[in-house]
């Protein structure tokens, strides 16, 4: 980037203040669900995640063009970044229209890169506004993270900007899924476009792939057969999202909420589409519990994306040693590194630097585990 060598990097910066609120309260995205999320007790998360990135950028040679209030300025002040200019004033309750208009304001002033904080919906709105005119980089804060424009976590996003002269650019898909369909259990990703993204290997997440082939089905069946064979009647099993855990449920004789979290014990379903509160209510006393999760597509997130109901409190109640990760060999081939980003870095570290993933009947693979913070 020429801007880095000659003067400050001029970067557009905006936050979608409501992104990610649906996750911990069991909604699968916040698009059109803001009131319901608030009613269920959701609190804003994107502000905190943006501040974590911005704090690491304090003192860097970057000039931010941003929006007023919760859409950008508040976080810049909070993180101690002084070199910024508010070029767009948003309404108190911002909307997708504000995101689009802010992007246009950035473009008219001239920027070298656009940094945003949100989820797939935000990425879609940003890309819809700026197209391929500037590179994009996302601070991950959404419920769904299928696009390939996000840093693997807030710290990694900052790292990319701090080492911009070392990065190369690659094309990455902007993907979103229909949230209405998603809530009904239908996973149908749609590519909205191809953005340019600064890239440091291991710091930008890959687009999530959905694998559908015959041998995958056999592999899933083998995993499900093994997991059900080792299940104990005195243990609560929390099944995370995805088709591999759905196959485990099928072997137990029930249909799983594909994208939600279900709980079983002794062959009975205790909870369907559980949220954090529901999970915690089951984990009282000395009850034995295990969490069975599958990494999300090529991104490789074991915990932290699409599984927010399995929160740090839930994980501590169950114990990191009682997390069983499952994935088919094909999915693992496309996922060289796994990530855990629960939002609690001390907890993330308790998982260690490698993790065993059950990939067949009585068989697993030892994979590298990153939590770059």
């Amino acid at each position: 980037m020429a801007a880095v060598a000659s003067g400050p990097l001029i970067a557009g910066f905006l936050i979608n203040p409501i992104a990610g609120m649906g996750g911990r309260v069991g909604l699968k995205g916040t698009d059109g669900q803001f009131e319901e999320a608030v009613r269920r007790g959701a609190v804003p998360v994107s502000q905190d995640r943006a501040i974590r990135t911005l704090t690491l950028l304090r003192g860097a040679n970057i000039r931010f063009l941003t929006c007023s209030g919760a859409m950008g300025e508040d976080a810049l002040i909070e993180s101690g970044n002084k070199d910024y200019l508010v070029v767009y004033h948003s309404a108190e309750k911002s909307s997708a229209q504000d995101t689009i208009a802010a992007c246009q304001a950035f473009l008219s002033r001239g920027i070298s890169l656009l940094l945003f904080c949100g989820g797939d919906g935000t990425a879609r709105d940003v890309y819809g506004s700026v197209d391929n005119r500037v590179p994009l980089l996302g601070i991950p804060a959404g419920v769904k993270m299928h696009s390939g424009v996000f840093g693997v976590n807030p710290a990694a996003t900052a790292e990319i900007l701090l080492r911009l002269s070392e990065t190369s650019f690659r094309e990455s898909e902007i993907v979103d899924i229909d949230e209405e369909e998603y809530r009904r259990g239908v996973l149908a990703p749609r590519i909205f476009g191809i953005a340019r993204v600064p890239y440091l290997p291991g710091h930008v997440q890959d687009r999530k792939w959905v694998y559908e082939e015959a041998s995958e089905d056999r592999a899933k069946a083998a995993i499900a057969q093994f997991i059900t064979a080792i299940m104990r009647d005195d243990t609560v099993y929390i099944l995370g999202a995805g088709s591999t855990t759905a196959e485990i449920a099928a072997h137990l004789g029930f249909e799983k909420t594909l994208l939600g979290i279900d709980v079983v014990m002794g062959g009975r379903v205790l909870l369907r589409d559980a949220d954090e509160r529901g999970l915690l209510s089951l984990l009282v006393g000395e009850r034995r519990a295990k969490i069975i999760v599958s990494p999300i597509g090529a991104q490789g997130f074991v915990l932290g994306r699409g599984t927010q109901a399995i929160s740090p409190r839930v994980l501590r109640a169950v114990g990191p040693e009682n997390v069983i990760v499952v994935a088919t060999p094909h999915k693992l081939r496309e996922t060289p590194v796994l990530y855990i980003d629960t939002g609690d870095t001390a907890l993330d570290r308790e998982f260690g630097t490698t993790i065993l993933v059950i990939s067949g009947h009585g068989m697993g693979q030892r994979k590298k585990l990153l939590h770059p913070e």
Partner: protein, 452 residues
């Protein structure tokens, strides 16, 4: 400092060492699969020559190597013992590393140490043909070489996927005059019934064993031969350790550690049993014997010590050994020779009794050690052997940290010239670190009420 310590042909051991006689209590006998009673020599005689059956249960501490066998073994024996000085230097270790190199045999591994005597004893009893199975082809090529030396016919059932994907071992067998058949085949009832149900199957070692045993049992002129696991196979391999002990003695040394890889257990038995005997009889109580296996198939480190079948179908006698269960199908790691659910009853017993300890490693770290070995000592070793090399590297690093000048001996059981595709996968970052989920399995098993 000598790079190679060699013995003259006349110094080659004249007798094999039988560790059975030095065990503090007898080995639990193999059981008949139908009656669950100890097998008798007659039970085994349908497929094995009587001399090998006697060796399987022999009360003699030493058994003479027949002249006709020794004459062929001398084509490559005594094998050299190398000082791995370049590896030591790279590791900056005060440890002294020695390795016995078995890759100098015509088939390129330790396997002909037993295929030659097995072919010989069969020939002496009038057997004209030997049937066996092979996975990646190391054992098949060793038996093809041995039967050819005694003008015998040889039929090898090779797992179909290997037959198609690893053609060079198959060509070696054919050059030595053996018939190599992809298994399952239409030659046997076992093969036909599998093909009827699964016409596109890629085969397995278990199926190939069933075919070879059936072939031997249904032809009077034909016997069956096994390349590992059984006591007589371990016995024949003891020439490795006996030579190594003599070679080290020439330098006035005795090893602090002896290391080898374990699949069925024969190459490890070969290098370690003479030293295990010294330990059992109190001559060298302190020698540390280390068996190395893959994390994907961790029989000795994670299995249970019990009676189990030697094959998938449950046709063989029940053997008391460490096992992951005869229905366990290990994943396709590149060290194909270490993919076995059980282990030699003798090696198992010594692990159980604490004479030998076992460790396990993942594929990628094993290939890293193999690459280091190739870049220092020059030899590109077999993926199986690389497991031993990894343990050697780890132990040498421990010596660097502690300052100990340990003498480490390991068995470099064969070269990896037919395994270059595995090295390619390693270099391209395509190797998976398979691992047996022992804790989950143990936890689940512990909860199952005992049926007894």
């Amino acid at each position: 400092m000598k790079t190679k310590i060699t013995l003259d042909e006349g110094e080659m051991p004249k007798r094999w060492y039988n560790i059975l006689t030095d065990l503090p209590a007898p080995l639990d006998p193999p059981l008949h699969p139908a009656t669950k009673k100890p097998v008798t020599p007659d039970d085994l005689h349908a497929i094995f020559p009587m001399e090998l059956i006697k060796q399987e249960m022999s009360p003699k501490r030493f058994i003479d190597i027949p002249d006709e066998v020794a004459e062929i073994l001398r084509l490559w024996r005594p094998s050299p013992l190398y000082r791995a000085a370049r590896l030591e230097k790279a590791l900056k270790t005060p440890a002294r590393i020695y390795y016995k190199y078995e890759g100098v045999s015509p088939p390129g591994s330790h396997k002909p140490n037993t295929s030659v005597p097995q072919a010989y004893y069969n020939m002496k009893e009038g057997i004209e043909r030997i049937a066996t199975e092979t996975g990646a082809g190391q054992w098949g090529s060793a038996l093809a070489f041995a039967t050819q030396q005694f003008d015998m016919a040889c039929t090898i059932y090779m797992v179909r996927s290997s037959y198609a994907q690893k053609p060079y071992r198959k060509i070696m067998m054919q050059v030595w005059g053996a018939e190599c058949i992809p298994s399952p085949s239409t030659r046997t009832n076992a093969g036909r019934s599998i093909l009827e149900k699964y016409p596109d199957t890629s085969g397995s070692l278990g199926i190939a064993i069933s075919e070879a045993v059936e072939d031997a049992a249904t032809h009077d002129n034909t016997n069956y031969s096994l390349g590992s696991v059984l006591n007589h196979v371990c016995l024949h391999q003891t020439v490795i350790g006996l030579e190594a002990r003599e070679q080290l003695a020439k330098e006035s040394l005795y090893p602090d550690m002896v290391i080898g890889c374990v699949g069925g257990g024969s190459n490890f038995a070969g290098i370690s049993f003479p030293f295990a005997g010294d330990k059992l009889t109190g001559k060298h109580k302190e020698v540390d014997l280390v068996a190395v296996e893959p994390s994907a198939c961790p029989t000795l480190t994670k299995g249970i010590y019990t009676y189990d079948y030697g094959d998938v179908a449950g046709l063989t006698p029940l053997l008391k050994m460490y096992t992951l269960g005869h229905d366990f199908i290990p994943p396709s790691i590149h060290a194909g020779g270490l993919r076995y659910h059980g282990a030699s009853p003798l090696v198992s017993r010594l692990v159980h009794d604490g004479i030998i300890r076992a460790v396990s490693y993942h594929q990628n770290e094993v290939f890293e050690a193999a690459q280091l070995f190739a870049r220092t000592e020059g030899i590109i070793i077999a993926p199986e052997t690389a497991h031993a090399a990894k343990a050697v590297v780890d132990e040498a690093i421990k010596c660097r940290e502690s300052g100990e000048e340990k003498v480490i001996l390991f068995n470099n059981s064969g070269h990896g010239h037919f395994d270059l595709s595995a090295y390619e996968a390693f270099l391209q970052g395509r190797l998976e670190d398979y691992e047996y989920p022992a804790d989950l399995i143990r936890e689940a098993l512990a909860h199952i009420p005992s049926s007894t």
